[in-house]
């Protein structure tokens, strides 16, 4: 297949800005990132603001240095397995039902998709400013994340990419 060979010559690039921390948006980010990696599309996910909460280790309960940062993490538990729905959250009943449905229909959970995305070479870059503002340290974040970067790096990646998503 010459078309396939030509397509494979120059790798396509995708950038996802993972801004929201909600369950359904995290799911969308990780489905697209893992599949893009599987399709040999060079994929970078810039993780910023609420999105960074997703990339805190699941077992971390309270993060931050001062009482405001600590209260923020207490009010919304960080970690990929603890995302809330933007609608129909119902004190956690909504996400519970979502995971039951996902299990029944063999849909991969965000945590599994995140592992698969990392296995196919997707780069996750944390936003330095968000880390500072929420008082997050490198060791609070999951293993395998890239160096923290800022808006300029994100913009450079975005303008060089074939496609960019803000989720």
């Amino acid at each position: 297949m010459t078309a396939a060979a030509a397509g494979a010559d120059k790798p396509k690039k995708l950038v996802i800005i993972d801004y929201s921390g909600e369950l359904e948006k995290t799911w969308a980010t990780l489905i697209l990132a893992s599949t893009a990696g599987a399709m040999e599309i060079e994929t970078t996910v810039f993780v910023t603001f609420w999105g960074l909460q997703t990339f805190v280790k699941d077992r971390k309960r309270i993060t931050g240095q001062n009482w405001m940062q600590k209260m923020m993490s207490f009010m919304q538990r960080p970690g990929v397995s603890h995302r809330k729905l933007s609608k129909m959250n119902f004190m956690g009943m909504g996400p519970w039902m979502m995971f039951q449905l996902a299990k029944r229909y063999n849909v991969a959970k965000p945590k599994d998709l995140l592992e698969m995305a990392q296995a196919v070479g997707v780069q996750f870059l944390p936003c330095q400013m968000t880390m500072d503002m929420f008082g997050l340290k490198r060791e609070d974040l999951i293993d395998g994340m890239g160096e923290p970067v800022g808006a300029a790096t994100a913009l450079q990646l975005m303008t060089e990419a074939d496609s960019t998503l803000f989720i």
Partner: protein, 78 residues
Amino acid sequence: MGNLDIKLKVDASGLSCPLPILKATQGIKSVASGELIEVVATDPGSVKDFDAWSRSTGNAMVEQESTGGKFRFVLRRK
């Protein structure tokens, strides 16, 4: 058909998008360049998805057939 030398079979039956593609990716990475893998899926979206995946990666689609809600793909690692 039937005389293809398939190195690995991947059963993605019952799995939802994007798991058949992710399983196929894991599978094809475990065989050598030029070798074949077979993937069986039941997700109807997988017909178009495997075509897109094949074009994007350059791993050629050698065979594709649909029988009774099962979709079978034979793919050659580039």
